[in-house]
C-alpha cells in the first residue's frame, strides 16, 4: 500500500514542478505600453500576472489581448508612475472589480473552503493510512477470522496480499493509476502552460486565407448573378431564368432585383401560386419580417387556390401573429406541420414559431414525437429530382426508398413511414412491394381503421386481377379483418370486405352473416342494397 502511495506522491510532485518550470510563452503587452523605468516595468509585469482579465476570465491581464486587459495594464502603470505601492494598486482594483479580479483569491469566509480543502484532504488521507497501519500491527497476521473476512469481502485481492497488510484491492489501484495517467496525458496535451502560443501574427496567413475564401464566395455569387441577369436579357420570356435571377439576387441581398425578377416571372406565368408565395416571402423579408398588405393579398390568393401551399401557410401564420391573432397563428402552423413531410427544412422554424404563438395564446401544445426528422423523400430532394434526367431521377428515388426501407426495418412501429414507403413503391410501379409496405403500416397502427380498410381494398383488387397467390393473401386478409373488426365491427365498408373475403374462402355462412348485417345498416332502396341482395341470393344457391 505504502509503495503505491509513494509512487502517487511522486507523480503529483513531478506534475507540479513541470507546471512551475514551464513559463507561458505568450505576452499580450506591446512595446509602447511599457514603462521606461525597468524596475517599475518589472513591478507592472508582476502585478499584471496577478490580475484577472474580466473578459477572458481565465487569463491574467498580462496574457490577455482584450481591450479591458489593456486598459487595466495602463491603469496599473499609471498608478505605479504616480508612486503608489503594490498593495494600494491591488486594493484599488479589488475595490472596483471585486475579489474576482485577483487570480489568487484572498482567504476569507467565502473562500476558506477553497483553501482548506487540500489540507483537509491530506490530513484525512494521512489519518486513514496511519489508522490502517496501526490496526495491522495490532491484529495478528493471517488470523483465521481475518482471512475469512477478507475472502468474503474481496476475493480478488487475497492472492496479492502482502503478509500482514489488509487486502489490497488491486482493481482499485489499477483504476486510480489509469485515472491519474489519463489526467496527466490530458494535461500534457491540452492544459500545459508550456504549450506554444498561437499569436495573431502567426495566424495571419490562416486568417487571410479565410478572408480570401469569403471573397471568392462573394465573387462566385456575383458571377452567378451576372450570368442570370444576362440570361434574362437574352431570353426575357424564359420564366426559369427570371427565377434563377431572383435566387442569385437574394444570395447577394439585392432585395429590389429579387422583387423585380419575381414580379416579372409572375407576370410571365400568369398567376402561378408558387411564384406568388415566393414573392410574398420576398416582400416580407424586404419589410424586415412584416407581412405588408401586398404580401397579404398574395397569400390570400395562393391559399384560395391551394390551401396546402407551405410558404403561404407559414406567412399567413406570421401575419396572424402580427395582428395579435395568436390562436389563428397556432392553427395555421399546426396545420402546416401536419401536412409537411416530416423532414421538411422549414419544420424547425415553424415549430419554434408555433411554440411562441402557443405561449402567447396560452395554448398548451401536445408534443408529438413520432414525426420528427425523417431523412427521406423531402420536398427539397423531390424538387432536386425534377431537374434530373428520368434515369437519374429513378435511381435517386430508388436509393431513397432503399434507405427508408432499411430504417423502417429497424423501427417497424413507424406506421407513417411505412405508408410513405408504400406510396413511393406505387410511384415506382412496384405494386407488390407497395402492398407489403402498406400491410406493415397497418400492423404498426392496428387502431387505424382507415389503414386496415386500405389494405383490404388493395388485397381485394389484387385478388381480382388474379396475379397473386390466393392462399397467402387470404391469410393476410383474415389477419387484417381481425384487427379492423376489433376497432369497429359495425363499419359498413369493413362489413363488405369481411363478407367478400369469407366468400372467397368458401365460408358462405360467414359471408352471409356479414352482408346481412351490412344490409341492415344501409337504406333498403339504395342501389348498393340491391346489388348486395343479388350477391346474397347467389350465395344462397
Amino acid at each position: 500500500m505504502m509503495r503505491y502511495f509513494n509512487a502517487l506522491i511522486l507523480i503529483l510532485l513531478v506534475g507540479m514542478s513541470l507546471q512551475t518550470l514551464s513559463v507561458p510563452a505568450a505576452f499580450a503587452i506591446t512595446a509602447e505600453e511599457q514603462l521606461a523605468d525597468p524596475e517599475l516595468e518589472a513591478r507592472a509585469r508582476d502585478l499584471s500576472k496577478q490580475l484577472r482579465c474580466l473578459v477572458c476570465q481565465n487569463q491574467s491581464i498580462d496574457d490577455s489581448d482584450a481591450d479591458l486587459a489593456k486598459d487595466l495594464r495602463a491603469e496599473v502603470r499609471k498608478q505605479l508612475l504616480s508612486g503608489a505601492d503594490d498593495q494600494t494598486i491591488m486594493a484599488d482594483l479589488q475595490e472596483k472589480y471585486g475579489d474576482y479580479v485577483l487570480l489568487n483569491p484572498p482567504v476569507s469566509v467565502a473562500t476558506i473552503g477553497l483553501w482548506a480543502t487540500p489540507i483537509l484532504a491530506l490530513l484525512i488521507g494521512g489519518g486513514l493510512i496511519v489508522l490502517n497501519r496501526r490496526r495491522v500491527k495490532q491484529s495478528p497476521p493471517q488470523s483465521a477470522q481475518d482471512l475469512s473476512e477478507n475472502t468474503a469481502e474481496k476475493p480478488v485481492s487475497v492472492k496479492t496480499m502482502h503478509a500482514g497488510t489488509p487486502g489490497t484491492p488491486i482493481l482499485a489501484i489499477t483504476a486510480s493509476f489509469c485515472i491519474i495517467a489519463a489526467g496527466a496525458i490530458y494535461w500534457f496535451v491540452l492544459g500545459s502552460p508550456s504549450l506554444p502560443s498561437q499569436p495573431l501574427s502567426q495566424r495571419a496567413s490562416e486568417i487571410s486565407q479565410d478572408a480570401s475564401q469569403a471573397e471568392a464566395l462573394l465573387a462566385e455569387k456575383q458571377k452567378a448573378y451576372t450570368a442570370a441577369k444576362d440570361a434574362t436579357l437574352r431570353a426575357p420570356e424564359n420564366i426559369g431564368s427570371w427565377l434563377e435571377l431572383a435566387l442569385a439576387a437574394a444570395e447577394l441581398g439585392r432585395m429590389d432585383d429579387e422583387l423585380n425578377a419575381l414580379r416579372t416571372a409572375l407576370s410571365l406565368t400568369g398567376e402561378d401560386a408558387g411564384i406568388k408565395s415566393m414573392l410574398a416571402e420576398a416582400l416580407t423579408r424586404s419589410a424586415e419580417g412584416q407581412v405588408i398588405p401586398e404580401a397579404r393579398q398574395l397569400i390570400a390568393e395562393v391559399l384560395a387556390e391551394n390551401g396546402r401551399e407551405p410558404r403561404a401557410l407559414f406567412l399567413s401564420g406570421l401575419a396572424a401573429m402580427e395582428d395579435g391573432a395568436y390562436k389563428r397563428a397556432v392553427d395555421n402552423w399546426r396545420y402546416l406541420i401536419e401536412i409537411s413531410p416530416s423532414d421538411a427544412p422549414w419544420l424547425v422554424v415553424v415549430r419554434k414559431n408555433l411554440q411562441e404563438a402557443a405561449d402567447r395564446a396560452g395554448i398548451e401544445l401536445k408534443t408529438d414525437s413520432d414525426s420528427s426528422n425523417l431523412p427521406v423523400l423531402s420536398q427539397e430532394s423531390l424538387s432536386a429530382a425534377a431537374e434530373m434526367s428520368p434515369e437519374e431521377r429513378l435511381e435517386m428515388i430508388e436509393g431513397m426508398v432503399v434507405r427508408l426501407r432499411e430504417r423502417l426495418e429497424n423501427a417497424p412501429s413507424d406506421s407513417a413511414g411505412w405508408q410513405r414507403l408504400a406510396r413511393a413503391y406505387t410511384v415506382l410501379g412496384q405494386p407488390e412491394e407497395a402492398l407489403k409496405a402498406l400491410v406493415s403500416a397497418s400492423e404498426a397502427a392496428p387502431g387505424d381503421l382507415k389503414l386496415q380498410l386500405a389494405v383490404l381494398e388493395q388485397l381485394m383488387l389484387a385478388g381480382q386481377a388474379g396475379d397473386r397467390s390466393q392462399t397467402s393473401d387470404q391469410a393476410l386478409a383474415n389477419e387484417v379483418l381481425v384487427r379492423a373488426l376489433a376497432v369497429n365491427a359495425e363499419h359498413p365498408e369493413l362489413l363488405f370486405f369481411a363478407g367478400h373475403f369469407a366468400r372467397q374462402e368458401g365460408d358462405k355462412d360467414k359471408a352471409r352473416f356479414y352482408w346481412v348485417k351490412l344490409l341492415d345498416t344501409i337504406p333498403q332502396t339504395s342501389e348498393t342494397a340491391r346489388l348486395l341482395q343479388a350477391e346474397l341470393d347467389k350465395l344462397a344457391r
Binding site: 474580466l54 476570465q57 486598459d71 487595466l72 491603469e75 475595490e95 471585486g98 484525512i124 489508522l131 490502517n132
Partner: protein
Amino acid sequence: MARSLTHFLPLLLFVCFASIASVALIMTLSGERKLSELPSALIGKPVPVTELPSLSNPQAFIKIEATTATPYLVNFFASWCAPCRAEAPALAILGKQIDIIGVAYKDKPEDSRKFLADFGNPYRAIGIDNDGAAGLNWGVYGVPETYLISKDGIILKRHAGPIDGDILRDEFLPLIRSLQDRE
C-alpha cells in the same frame, strides 16, 4: 465499528463532493448559474463621483453625484456595441419611468450622436468617456452595463449585458417601482 467507519469515510467524502459538483453542473446546464456573470463589487457602495464632458455640449460637463433628488440609472453604451442596439427598446421604456444618464464608452461623439438618432435617445444627459477611464472606475468590463442608483447615491443594482424584456420586467421595473413607492 471503527473499521467500517474508515472504510466508508472516503466514499462518504466522495459522495459529498459529487453531489456538490452535480448541483453546480445542473444549475449551469439549466441556465440558473451563469458562468459569465461576474459578482459586482460596487453594489451597496456609493457611486464613484464622475465628471464627463457632455455629448450635447462639449463645453459643459455632466456630473454623477453622491446625492440627487430621485433615483436614477447610469447606462454605459457605445455605437460600436451590437447588444446596445438590442437593449434600445428596453431603455426607451425605462426612460419614461426614471432618469437615465448615458455614458458613451470609448466612442466617437459623432458616432454616438448617429447611434442615438438611429435607435432613439432615452437619456436625460449623456457624458463622453473617451478613454474608458470612467468605466474603469465603475468596474465596467464590457458595454452595455446598467447601474441603478438610489437618491442617496448608493449603487443598488448592476446589470452587465443588454437589458432584454425579461430582465426589464422581472428585475428593473419592480425595483424601480418599489423605490418610487417609498417616496
